[in-house]
Amino acid sequence: MTHDPTTSACGEPGRLAGSATAAPQPPGRIGGQIDYDKFLDCVHCGLCTAACPTYLETGDENNGPRGRIYLMRSVVDGRLELTPRVNAHLDLCLDCRSCETACPSGVEYGRLIEPFRASQRRAEAARQSARNADWFHRYILYCLFPYAQRLRWALAPARLMQQLRLDRLLETLGVIKILPRRLQRMQSFLPRLLPGGPPLPEFLPALGPKRARVALFTGCVADALFRHAHWATARVLQQNGCDVVVPRTQVCCGAIHYHSGADHPALALARANAAAFDAAGVDAVVVNVAGCGSMLKDYGQIARELEPAQAALLAELGGLADKVRDVSQFLAELGLIAPRGELKLRAVYQDACHLVHAQRVREQPRDLLAQIPGLELLSIAEPEICCGAAGSYNLTEPEMSDRLARRKLANLLAADPQVIVTGNVGCSMQIQSALRQARRAIPVVHPMELLDLSYRGVAFSRG
């Protein structure tokens, strides 16, 4: 075979691939409801690539943001079929939105991949009958996760096993191996479950002069696994002169539903939350879990995307979204009353993607922690790279998730911290699991837990 580059370069004038003028497709097809201008915002400069964890790991443009946008757009343009390979590249996306932080053109990648995925799931659901749908997604993610009570109940045996050290025994006996693969994995991700304490009361009064009235969002998974962090958050808010309301009628944020294409349940949850928090009459809705916070902040966008015609819905959900603050963001805006208790600790703060990228909350938690007397904040390499938790990603893309966990762990350990601080449940679980595998006993806590200890003058203990 010969191949003459000089002659093969001229020749037939062909299609201009990916022409920007390709007509957007009707909403019926996959990705069709995406605002096509959002694709056009991408100028194909590639500045986002090295910010993308999956690109860093694979070096393949198909696994980077620019490539994924190109793929999605080509599908929407009808230029490319959504083959299993294309799917695999899109599935490998963590939706960590690191690319958004890196992009100078302000491309809203999350507003491309999320609706694209949702419409993929819808299409799948339409194809598959309920019976042979993926049982794992259906039952674990769908029926269990969103409901804090059910989840606590489901986790009770695990807690008991951990307390009795039976989990170790089962692990040794290999019994765990006979559980379905993904359940095994879930089991391996459970952190050491702490007795979370009683549910939060509906109202906790401000201590000292009152500065604000806020509502606390407690969520589903978080309330089941991290109630102690909720308590800490509430106490820190009280210390800062906030009346804290915990509306009983609040529900799961709906992120899992939305991401799996169940628009209507997602909207229903969103509306329930809007009603619950509206009734509370607060200055801000404070969230201490990054993932939930970014979903709540996106309510307005999602309403626009799913029900573009309903102005009232938009106002209702957008109104809530505007009030949502991550707790560190809120405290930074309010001005933290400096805690006094000394915590002599070398700490690393690990950015949760849904805080740093999705909500652009980066300096605030660091600034708050820096005010704790005695606490030394260490910096790590690649702080902006996802740990691989990414919601249910650690269950659905175990291999990449593990690679990223190892990468993150290596960077964390290089700083030699005594405590790791992070503001998201998923990250916390992922890092704890990686630490257990590496047989390193470094506690992972929420920033509010450390502030709480400092306010209370309680020393940090590894328990």
Binding site: S8, A9, H44, T83
Partner: protein, 492 residues
């Protein structure tokens, strides 16, 4: 100039099955891409006007693998093109004629850092910023800092001789490369230069830098590390007229001060940047200069004072100094991400990259304004002013074909004016496929002949990056296919 859309078509034959089988035995299933739906994203880089899908993409992880693929290409006479991060704005990674794309993204180890001897050895796929981050805290850094440094690779920088804001004082990539290991198109591995200085013979390292992938594949680079400056001062000078700003630039340089960086943004850019970053730029200012001086603590304040005085005498209505590292960072972020922010002004834009002698900045600036008016095209400007490197950005709406035509004409007029003023048509983005047609304007037939001879020494069969940088003498004239549409928002 035609307005029809062309594709840089691939060879009808593509690559054969025997070739692919051999390639697969080298790279395995995970080291190679050959499915059309996965090749699609490799059809262009940061330059989106010309596209062509490669026949196959390989991801070597070692020099040996690069040698193998290059040898195979030689055996089967298949063209190949190296690719780093694909941020080229000149179509440097366009696989003209199809063939193999050699992606260096998996060769990204930092192999050695030697501070005492001021060098580091890296693989080509190391991202520029990652090297800098790796060196953080050592007191040393890698000086070339292209605006794309968060993504572009050292191999790509090496191949394009990248510059950046701080190259005014510290020089461009070639001034910081000591040596390289390269795989030539005949499959031989040659070490050029190295960790010791003054290796005898021709400076092939210097010649290879900036050869835009047409000499072979770089598989290892030895770079010079630079001491961090002991101190720096970052100033922002605000002017009511662009002329005053550009004149102040030549005053500063003329006064014998070499700032670490000297950048200019005009009103249009200020507006966009302010919308994006809320720095507090005065929206009614005609131009701002971002000036940084660095050096010894005992010296920087004096220099800063001198610059402030020059700017004030030159008509600056205000000169501010960044008061904290965070403020400095934000200022630089505004500058480095200025291009991205342009998306907020217009649906499409096209960035040019010309150079003039620094004293000609006022002249070229006025010319640009006139060209914009004549063609009824809005042009905003951000300059690496200290180097005379201009980046006029032409705003347009690509759906309007007449605007597109006017943008192309205006761009060409500006670049030709740069030549006329004694400058060049590219200060950092390279020729690639984008500016091949302008090479004739800059160089005469002899110059180009000599350059062809030089390429012949490295790349005699022409399989490596065909149809790049030099117009083909007498061949089918790729250059006529160029320059049809400026592309949607072709970024900086």
């Amino acid at each position: 100039m035609t307005t029809t859309d062309h594709d840089v078509s691939r060879s009808a034959a593509g690559v054969g099955a025997a070739f692919l089988t051999r390639l697969e035995s080298i790279f395995g299933e995970h080291g190679l891409i050959r499915q059309p739906e996965e090749l699609l994203v490799y059809e262009c880089d940061g330059y989106v006007i010309e596209k062509n899908v490669p026949d196959v993409v390989v991801f070597p992880e070692s020099t040996e693998q690069v040698v193998k693929v290059v040898n195979l290409c030689a055996e089967f006479q298949v063209p190949f093109v190296p690719r780093g991060a694909g941020t080229s704005l000149a179509g440097g990674c366009l696989p003209v004629g199809g063939g193999v794309m050699i992606s260096l993204t998996r060769m990204k180890r930092i192999l050695e850092v030697n501070l005492r001897d001021r060098y580091a050895v890296v693989e080509p796929g190391v991202v520029n910023l990652h090297l800098t981050q790796h060196l953080k805290g050592t007191g040393y850094h890698y000086a070339p800092d292209p605006s794309s440094q968060g993504a572009c690779t050292i191999g790509g920088n090496f191949a394009t001789n990248s510059g950046g804001p701080h190259t005014l004082k510290y020089g461009v990539t070639v001034n910081h490369v000591l040596g390289a290991e390269v795989v030539l198109p005949d499959g031989s591995v040659v070490q050029l230069g190295g960790a010791v200085e003054d290796t005898p013979g021709y400076d092939l390292t210097g010649l290879f830098v900036g050869s835009e992938g047409t000499f072979g594949v770089c598989t290892r680079v030895t770079v010079r590390l630079t001491r961090d400056p002991a101190a720096c001062r970052t100033l922002l000078a605000v002017f009511n007229s662009v002329r005053e700003a550009t004149q102040s630039i030549s005053q500063i340089i003329g006064a014998g001060i070499v700032p670490a960086a000297l950048e200019m943004m005009d009103q249009g850019i200020i507006e966009a940047v302010e919308a994006a970053f809320h720095f507090g730029f005065p929206l009614d200012a005609a131009a701002v200069l971002l000036i940084e001086v660095d050096g010894l603590e005992v010296a920087v304040d004096d220099e800063a004072r001198q610059i402030i005085a020059i700017c004030q005498a030159g008509g600056a209505r205000e000169v501010r100094q960044a008061n904290s590292p965070r403020e400095r960072q934000l200022l630089w972020k505004c500058r480095k991400q200025a291009f991205g922010a342009i998306g907020r002004l217009s649906p499409s834009y096209c960035t040019q990259d010309g150079v003039v002698p620094r004293t000609k900045l006022p002249e070229i600036q006025e010319f640009i304004t006139a060209v914009g008016q004549r063609h009824a095209i809005r042009i905003v400007n951000v300059f690496h002013a200290g180097d005379g490197n201009i980046h006029p950005i032409l705003l347009f709406d690509e759906r309007d074909s007449d605007q597109v035509r006017r943008v192309l004409e205006a761009s060409e007029e500006i670049l030709l004016k740069c030549i006329e003023l004694g400058g060049s048509v590219t200060g950092e983005h390279g020729i690639g496929v984008e500016k091949i047609s302008l090479m004739h304007r800059l160089f005469d037939a002899h110059d180009l002949d000599v350059m062809r001879s030089v390429r012949q020494a490295f790349n005699p069969g022409g399989l490596c990056s065909p149809m790049k940088m030099l117009p083909t003498a007498g061949a089918c004239g790729m250059e006529h296919v160029m320059q049809k549409r400026p592309g949607r928002r072709a970024a900086l």
